[in-house]
Amino acid sequence: MIRFDAVSKNYPNGTTAVDGLSLELAEGGLTVLVGPSGCGKTTTLRMVNRMVEPSAGTVSLGGRDIREVAAPELRRGIGYVIQHAGLFPHRTVLDNVATVPLLLGWGKKKARSRAAELLELVGLPATMAKRYPYQLSGGQQQRVGVARALGADPPVLLMDEPFSAVDPIVRGELQAEFLRLQKELHKTIVFVTHDIDEAIKLGDHIAVFRTGGKLAQFDTPEKLLEHPADDFVADFVGQDRGIRRLSFVQASGLPLREGPVLPVTAPVAEARALGEPWVLAVDAARRPLGWAATDDLPSGGTLTDATLVPLGHTFSLTGDSARAALDAALLSPSRLAVGVDAQGAVAGVADAYELSAAMARATTLTDVPADAATAPEPGASAASTTPAGLTKGDAGESGPEKDGGAGGDGR
């Protein structure tokens, strides 16, 4: 879809922003360009819509050299989102979003009704339409920026650090919604960020650039974490890439055991009889209520009378990743992670050792054989014990196929 052929960008002062880049980005995929500042990632992005003209080489879009099209016409067919949104302060939110349709001569009425649709699509209430940009929060402005880029329904979106100017909580929300949107729209997206976590969370493919405008590696997020091409990439993806890879292992494949789970109506004596240090109380629908410490149980009555310690958090077998499961185990007062099914009912529990053994098998994280003493009891779990598949399992998003399209190493 988007192809760079031996593209370089040199400036008269002698700096090289991009050096001999060849890269092919798949249609309908989200490619993240990531790297330290001054690595040429933004220059690369801006060469796609001719905001920067290459010094050498060819950029083509859908098989056509982009220099064959006049720059303004080319740009009207490519969505463009920038870091601080760059909204027009003198126009209402609605008219900001209608910018490209108006440029294309759709007429005011049609352009505005399209803009209203887009505001809804990016999750902004219709009451925002008449406001001016200064009346919006940073996150809302960025949503308007995305809506505006989608104005004429372009097949390609260029996004230059679109979420980096908002606080981490809003950023998380915007990222999740953006992934949802992309699942619906299947745009070909080029996304620039300096944040490797964001790259791994969002990208179908990641291109890591090093200072001086050289492509260091072009791969899927999993492969990037698993086999960094060199020390620079390994260093850039960080020390905890082992843990990060767990984001790509679905929790549904983890082995769980029944564990010390009792209805909250069960007598205290029954809880004591289990001989476990902690007992998980559940309601009639097996939804977890909290942990009770066996030592602190009252002398009589039911678990209702016991003091329940909050769960920390549970993980969902249908949506969460192995990383969430491991985190749940580490935060749980009983050191047991509680897995729940789609209805929120307890499917089973596992401790960190059991989880890590299963993860090791699923991800070949280590060479250590994953049998050991902590092997799960077969058949004791409500969940499947087959090794987890390597599909994207982050926060309810099961991403598109990871292998395919324009994979392979950077050339």
Partner: protein
């Protein structure tokens, strides 16, 4: 205190006497002359100031030249220029107009240039990146966003021109300055004060007109960021 009351009395008498409202030396005729000089020179200055201000602000080239020219022009004394042009070109309306244009161009030029240059670079980048041509960026983004400053420049220029157009009377031309110049030479204070009052009133009307204009044409989205008029 008595002085002030007397002067108000003088102005009142002068303004209400019927000879001020008829004939070549009446207020309507002098006001029309004054507005003609002011309007013409403001029009010329606007064309020059806006054209160069927008050009330099949009392209970013020649910013230093604009600042230099504007500051030099500001340093030229209007009265001196009038005398110089009259000496060179003879007695006509032209010298007055040249002097007033020279006075009005700098505030328009500088404010237009600063307004366009001060447009948020992100907004400009987004406009270009979404496929606006250079002209579209200028007319749909830069000018509307620079409008508060452009209007400020026009207002400052207009008030200066309206006040300074009185110099037209020195080389023997008309306008409201006639009253002041004639009154001074005849030691007729009633005439001087009456004429000054009309000039002051005209400046206030111009000020009010620009405030109304700004309210009508500047987007509400820009108002919070703009300092008070």
């Amino acid at each position: 205190m008595n002085d002030l009351v007397n002067q108000i009395q003088l102005v009142g008498d002068w303004l209400t006497s019927s000879e001020q409202w008829h004939g070549d030396d009446g207020i309507p005729h002098r006001l029309a002359e004054h507005l003609t000089y002011s309007g013409l020179s403001l029009l010329c200055a606007t064309v020059i100031g806006l054209a160069f201000g927008l050009l330099v602000g949009h392209t970013g080239r020649g910013a230093f030249a604009v600042a230099t020219v504007a500051n030099l022009a500001r340093a030229i004394p209007t009265f001196g220029l009038v005398v110089l042009v009259v000496t060179l070109a003879g007695l006509s309306t032209a010298p007055v107009l040249v002097a007033l244009v020279a006075l009005a161009v700098p505030p328009i030029l500088i404010n237009t240039f600063e307004g366009v240059r001060g447009v948020d670079p992100d907004a400009r980048d987004a406009a270009k990146g979404m496929g606006m041509t250079g002209w579209e960026v200028l007319l749909k983004v830069e000018v509307p966003m620079a409008l508060p400053l452009i209007l400020l420049g026009l207002r400052v220029a207009a008030i200066q021109v309206v006040a300074t157009a009185t110099v037209a009377a020195y080389p023997g031309l008309g306008g409201l300055g006639r009253y002041i110049v004639d009154g001074l030479s005849r030691n007729d204070y009633e005439l001087v004060i009456g004429g000054s009052a009309v000039v002051v009133a005209l400046a206030l009307v111009v000020q009010a007109a620009f405030t109304a204009l700004r309210r009508a044409v500047v987007s509400p989205g820009l108002r919070p960021a703009v300092t008070k008029p």
